[in-house]
Amino acid sequence: MSRPRWPPSVLLVAGIVAAVFAFAGGCGAAEDPAKPASDEPAQDGAAPPPDQANAAAADAQTDKPAEKPPEGQAEKPWAPPAFTERRAERDRMVRQIQAYGLTEKPVLEAMRSVPRHEFVPEALSRQAYDDGPLPIGYGQTISQPYIVAEMTRQLGLEAGAKVLEIGTGSGYQAAVLTHFTRNVYTMEIVGPLAEAAGKRLRRLGYDVVAVRHGDGYEGWPEKGPFDAIIVTCATGQIPPPLIKQLKAGGRMVIPVGGPFSIQRLMLVVKDEAGDVSSRSLMAVQFVPLLRRDPTRD
């Protein structure tokens, strides 16, 4: 009986190898369709090289905040900018927030007013009002709308209050805060994000927000003490410098927990005697990111 020239096993090996090679080439050729928005970081979202990162960290204390009236000087009346574009989507987003049980009207109104789509990468603009966070590059996110609303509510801001935000990110939370007070200070450790957020806030008319590039752990002692501090990045601890910069009677809202998707929101209150107590507010789950970060290579 004659046998085929090539054993089937060899043909099988050759076929699979060829198929794998072809597939590999196809995958490698895939392009990232995302394009950064105009005031997004010029880099493609990749972490800065170590040298650049070190330089950014070293520059942190010398960075100038965005335009802000000098302390003590009479402040111009402040009215946050109004936006009509994609209003219906914001209404839908607010209904989602209400479904979580949040009903405070000023908070809902602020959420309804700020154009979230301006704070997300262009490639994700369509999902801007979905019930979840979105990546903004450098491993950072814009938080789920409900979390932004809940944390804002917990601050109990009054008009004229001085509030410090740690973790500017895209600037969205800071923009929401301007609906309660014009004295909003925000810090971001990732230099390009801080720069982009500053530009974006000014472009959209939220120019009362002072943005600083620096390590939020240390806070912003020159501008403190603050009536409220909001930390928008999860942390394993509550930075002592931030507690120091909290006014007597001040409130700090901070998510605590590991870098996992579950964190607890915690309210830290400093009483008039300077003693600090805390309260667990709720367990929150920041929706994990499933989609590829469009700002990454």
């Binding site: 020239r5 060899v10 230099g191 870098p259 367990a283």
Partner: protein
């Protein structure tokens, strides 16, 4: 083909199969925590089962090309390892997301399928060798056993010198060599096939980076995302990958009192498998450790201050020396002799090598001795007594609450572990156990109940010997062999007040003292502790939404709190936030069980459907299939039970897996070979072997822990060998049943044979995942009992296997 070449190829492939299993466990542990250990074994069995089915169906079609198929399967195995690794990196499975979207289970299935492919080809090599030359089956089988045994040992040894990801390269290369050895070189194209496979291997490995992939929710990627952060030291071994990270924006001292307002000393972060395992603080003076006095774990030193006793300076035992913080705290409080236990030799090497100056040489400070050991082994081997046994949190902050360790055995927080600690208390000694605090309380209450149970077992009344405090991040339980005096509790109050730590339980706790500083909706901790000590304990445990009952060595899943029966009430109460309370690890294992059932049915049973007609006419088929189902379930349930128990003895999942998998394969195989040697009918052999399994298994259920405890303190190689020695008699007996049954069935009802293989394969795949899941609910002992019940039933069923019909059929393997 010369038998030597076949056997060499089989041995190499068997080695590579086991090595790939262990490499996968490590790699997936880096990426997804340790959830996948059982799943990897299950998938490997699935691959072997499916290859058996494929051979049963295609065997005849191979004609005279079986040798080429064997070589080709080895080459495909070699290629499948890097291909699966590369493709698996692209699977967007996010374990965190499972409770949010069960659609993630699809990705679990995809990952299973990718892992399945290499094992399918590996199984095909072994299956082809065993079925191709029936007269040489003994030697081929021995080669399979030797290779498997070497695979486990070689993989563990290689992990000392190679990163986990490089193990894949080694194992693929071994399989490639096996293919080259088996390839009939006289065939035109044989050389080309091997060269092509080699080129493919190189290309496939080049496709994916050699760096491991980490979940974005692990600490390492988060830390490295901070500007200026960098890895300053890196090492890798069987116990994990160590990264030391420094950066201007990294600040690590979780759980400090909110009243602490000073600066932290400069420090770097230690990370094991990408999760924070502590920090190395640059404290050169004793007083610089004072910041740690603002943690709840410092309470032990305040309740009973370190004063020199009759037996010399007070001794402290630190379980988990890590970066040395707890050693520093003990020194700050004047401990005269400090013994630190550190299980991971890479951490010790780093602390006494590259980080020596970073940590203020804390490992070498006067009175400090750091030993490479884990707590249970050390306590079993020492007669020393300590004033304080300090057990700091061993997992990353927040990990327990997220259910990341729900399926992981922890023998540090069991009643037996705490009994051992109490047994090593000096006069006035304290056990100080700290866990991260979660809400509603789970870790804290279980810790409290476990300490309570340990005291009761020691005949000590617990209510006067326990204390519990907490802050916003941690909960600490203090247990003492001697009752707390009013002076003790006064000192604890004096410690907690200024730090604004909440009292949860004291023997003389007063109303109004609880839930004052870190305010919860309800004084859960205080009420829970009181209930656990009172007559309503059982009612409280039954009604509490989470399972916080004390954990034991039999059910050592400390971080598993989830209860199905609470699900409706929790869903009603928490609404959308329920997802935050579901345990990822547990959900993953449950999802894996469902998918294992489906995959095993689809890949092993369904392909045999065309041959169902032959089965229908076979005699006593029900008894035959039930027999193979039972021994499949029993074998893997016992093996998984051993794996769970040996994690205590060998103190590590990877060592335990290597010892258990290799030992069961080798000794099970020896049993298979020996099964032919008895001058008895196959079904008689099966019955006697089943009786032996039940006898040995029962003895182990009753006494194994005590026997192992005698050598718990020995060095790892000794314990490895002891573990293998205990597996040996049981596995040898278990190994008799499959071939004996198969011979009996093959001689009398050959049509049942492929189905017997398939049913056995399906049962093995399912039992691998089901056994640990069941152990989480009912304990290893009951799972072991069920497994022994399976063997007992199989021993009885053996008598109902089809009768032998003359003339004798050829070998029992599927054609």
């Amino acid at each position: 083909m010369p038998p030597l070449r076949t056997r060499l190829a089989v041995a190499l492939v068997s080695l590579a199969v086991i090595g790939t299993e262990l490499a996968l466990m490590r790699s997936l542990s880096l990426r997804y925590w340790h959830h996948f250990a059982y799943l990897v074994i299950s998938v490997a069995l699935l691959g072997f089962g499916a290859s058996g089915t494929a051979l049963a169906l295609l065997g005849r079609a191979m004609g005279g090309w079986r040798r080429e198929w064997l070589a080709g399967a080895a080459l495909l195995f070699a290629l499948a390892v890097p291909a699966a690794r590369w493709l698996a990196r692209g699977v967007p499975l996010d374990v965190q997301y499972l409770s949010w979207n069960l659609g993630q289970a699809v990705y679990v299935g995809l990952l299973q399928m990718l892992m399945f492919v290499p094992f399918f080809f590996g199984g095909a090599v072994v299956g082809l060798a065993l079925t191709d030359e029936p007269d040489r089956i003994g030697g081929h089988y021995a080669a399979n056993l030797v290779g498997s045994g070497l695979g486990g040992v070689a993989a563990v040894l290689l992990m000392h010198v190679l990163p986990a990801e490089d193990l894949f390269i080694v194992m693929a290369a071994v399989a490639l060599v096996a293919g080259a050895v088996a390839m009939p070189w006289y065939r035109p194209g044989g050389v080309a096939a091997v060269l092509l496979a080699a080129a493919g291997l190189v290309h496939l490995f080049a496709l994916a980076p050699r760096d491991p992939l980490f979940s974005p929710y692990k600490m390492l990627p988060q830390a490295l995302a901070m500007p200026g952060s960098r890895v300053i030291h890196h090492d890798e071994g069987p116990l994990g990958r160590l990264d030391v990270v420094e950066g201007p924006a990294l600040h690590y001292a979780p759980g400090l009192s909110l009243q602490f307002s000073d600066s932290l000393p400069p420090h770097v972060l230690l990370m094991i498998d990408g999760d924070a395992a502590g920090a190395v603080y640059d404290c050169t003076e004793r007083d610089e450790w004072s910041f740690l006095d603002y943690t709840t774990g410092a309470s032990a030193y305040h309740v009973r201050p370190m004063e020199e006793g009759d037996d010399g300076p007070p001794a402290v035992l630190i379980v988990g020396a890590g970066g040395g913080g707890d050693i520093g705290l003990a020194r700050y409080h004047g401990a005269g002799s400090i013994t630190g236990l550190e299980q991971n030799p890479d951490i010790i090497a780093a602390m006494t090598g590259p980080l020596r100056d970073r940590g203020g040489r804390i490992y070498e400070a006067p009175g400090v001795e750091v030993r490479q050991a884990e707590a249970r082994g050390y306590l079993a081997s020492t007669g020393r007594r300590f004033r304080v046994i300090q057990v700091p949190p061993v997992e990353a902050f927040g990990a327990s609450g997220a259910g990341l360790y729900a399926t992981q055995e922890s023998y540090l927080y069991t009643v037996e572990a705490m009994e051992a600690m109490l047994d090593h208390m000096a006069d006035g000694g304290l056990v100080c156990l700290t866990r991260w605090a979660d809400e509603p309380p789970r870790d804290g209450l279980r810790l409290f109940d476990t300490a309570r149970a340990a005291l009761e077992r020691r005949g000590l009344e617990p209510a006067g010997r326990l204390a519990m405090i907490r802050n916003w991040a941690t909960v600490t339980v203090l247990a003492s062999a001697e009752p707390f005096s009013p002076a003790d509790t006064a000192r604890l109050r004096a410690f907690c007040g200024p730090r604004r730590f909440d009292l949860c339980y004291l023997p003389d706790l007063r109303p109004g003292e609880v839930n004052r500083y870190h305010v919860l909706d309800h004084p859960y901790f205080a009420e829970g502790a009181a209930a656990l000590l009172g007559s309503g304990r059982e009612a409280f445990l039954a009604e509490y939404p989470f399972d916080v009952r004390a954990t034991t060595d039999d059910r050592p899943f400390f971080s598993h709190f989830f209860r199905w029966k609470s699900l409706p009430a929790l869903a009603d109460q928490l609404g959308r936030r329920l997802r935050a309370y579901l345990e990822r690890g547990y959900l993953l294992l449950a999802a894996a069980l469902v998918q294992s059932v489906l995959l095993a049915a689809v890949l092993i049973l369904v392909p045999l459907a065309p041959r169902a007609g032959e089965l229908r006419s076979a005699p006593r088929k029900a008894a035959g299939l039930a027999y193979f189902l039972l021994i499949g379930l029993g074998f893997m349930a016992l093996e998984m039970g051993f794996l769970g128990r040996l994690m205590l003895y060998l103190a590590d999942p990877v060592y335990a897996a290597a010892a258990v998998i290799s030992s069961f394969l080798v000794f099970g195989g020896i049993g298979s070979l020996a099964s032919r040697a008895w001058p008895l009918a196959p079904r008689q052999v099966a019955s006697v072997a089943a009786a032996a399994v039940v006898a040995i298994g029962t003895a182990y259920l009753l006494r194994l822990d005590a026997w192992l405890a005698a050598t718990q303190g020995e060095a790892m190689p000794v314990r490895f060998l002891v573990a293998a020695a205990f597996v040996a008699p049981l596995a040898v007996a278990m190994g008799h049943l499959f071939p004996s049954g198969l011979r009996q069935v093959g001689l009398a009802a050959p049509a049942v044979v492929p189905w017997a293989w398939a049913v056995n394969g399906v049962a093995s795949v399912i039992a691998t995942v089901a056994a640990p899941l069941a152990a989480m609910h009912v304990g290893f002992a009951r799972v072991g009992l069920v497994a022994l019940g399976c063997y007992a039933a199989a021993g009885v069923l053996a008598w109902w296997l089809p009768e032998r019909r003359p003339p004798a059929a050829p070998d029992s393997r599927p054609a």
